[in-house]
């Protein structure tokens, strides 16, 4: 495992990475924001998502490309993101650490979960 894979992810970075995996190729600001807000039920600023994505881009976990400008966005371009191998490794590492600390994962039951 390379050094990048060993880097620990923050809670928001982990959630954003999971949202990117869920959305696939159509991962840009609005759907990422909506996915995270729907899942968490909390207000999250788009700026904090972009800051997390920028940190992960510098770490090599994700890559970005600029899309075309559209009229519904006031002539502004979309920025698409994609999870790279290092990002997947970082997610696996976070999961491995969780399992190492709590092997049987006996956490408090979450509302709506099937135990």
């Amino acid at each position: 495992m390379n050094k990048k894979g060993k880097q620990l992810l923050s809670e928001l970075e982990e959630i954003v990475l999971l949202a990117l995996i869920k959305l696939g190729s159509e991962s840009y600001g609005v759907p990422i924001h909506q996915t995270i807000e729907d899942a968490s039920g909390r207000f999250i600023s788009i700026g904090s998502i972009y800051a997390a994505l920028d940190r992960m881009e510098r770490s090599g976990f994700v890559t970005s490309r600029m899309g075309e400008a559209t009229s519904e966005r006031g002539g502004r371009a979309k920025k698409f993101f994609k999870v790279e191998g290092a990002g997947m490794l970082a997610l696996k590492e976070a999961e491995r650490i969780r399992r190492a600390i709590l092997p049987k994962r006996r956490l408090l039951p979450v509302e709506g979960s099937v135990e």
């Binding site: 788009i46 972009y50 502004r76 371009a77």
Partner: protein, 174 residues
Amino acid sequence: MKKKSRRQKLNQQTLEFNYHVSRFSGERSGEQAHYWQRRELLFNEQELLAERLRLTIEVRKFNDEMRKWEFSKPTMQALMDYYRTHDFEKDLCPQPPRSAEYIAYLFLSRTDRETLLGDLAEEYPVVVARFGLRGAKIYFYKQVLTSIWPLVRKAVIKWGAFGWVVELIRRISS
């Protein structure tokens, strides 16, 4: 030449006015197509039908009101000028608050600003449809103000505090 009666004059003016209004509506229909496409995505069919019906009734009421009045030539001219020059598209498609955009312009780099404001502009009509214009404005301001700090912190880490302050002064003075 036979002199026109008051009724004939009134009918002629009404016809002329309706012609200009319809011509104006015809010119605007193309521009409004994009607006309706967006609204159709936001509203369900029943709500859309209700809104169209309401607009139709408003137009009919307006036309009925016009027929009651006999306008003098300058008044007619002023009314027609208003309908020609007024930006109805702006009334129908609400625009995000300019001052919030300016705040983003002051504090954020070009790339951050474009992506953030683009996303907020894309969300704006949806928020307007759900919470009204006032609620949407508050949401827009809240998003911009809470987004500034994470993005500024990112820029400060990248460029250093001094570099960011120099950039900020350059933006404010330009």
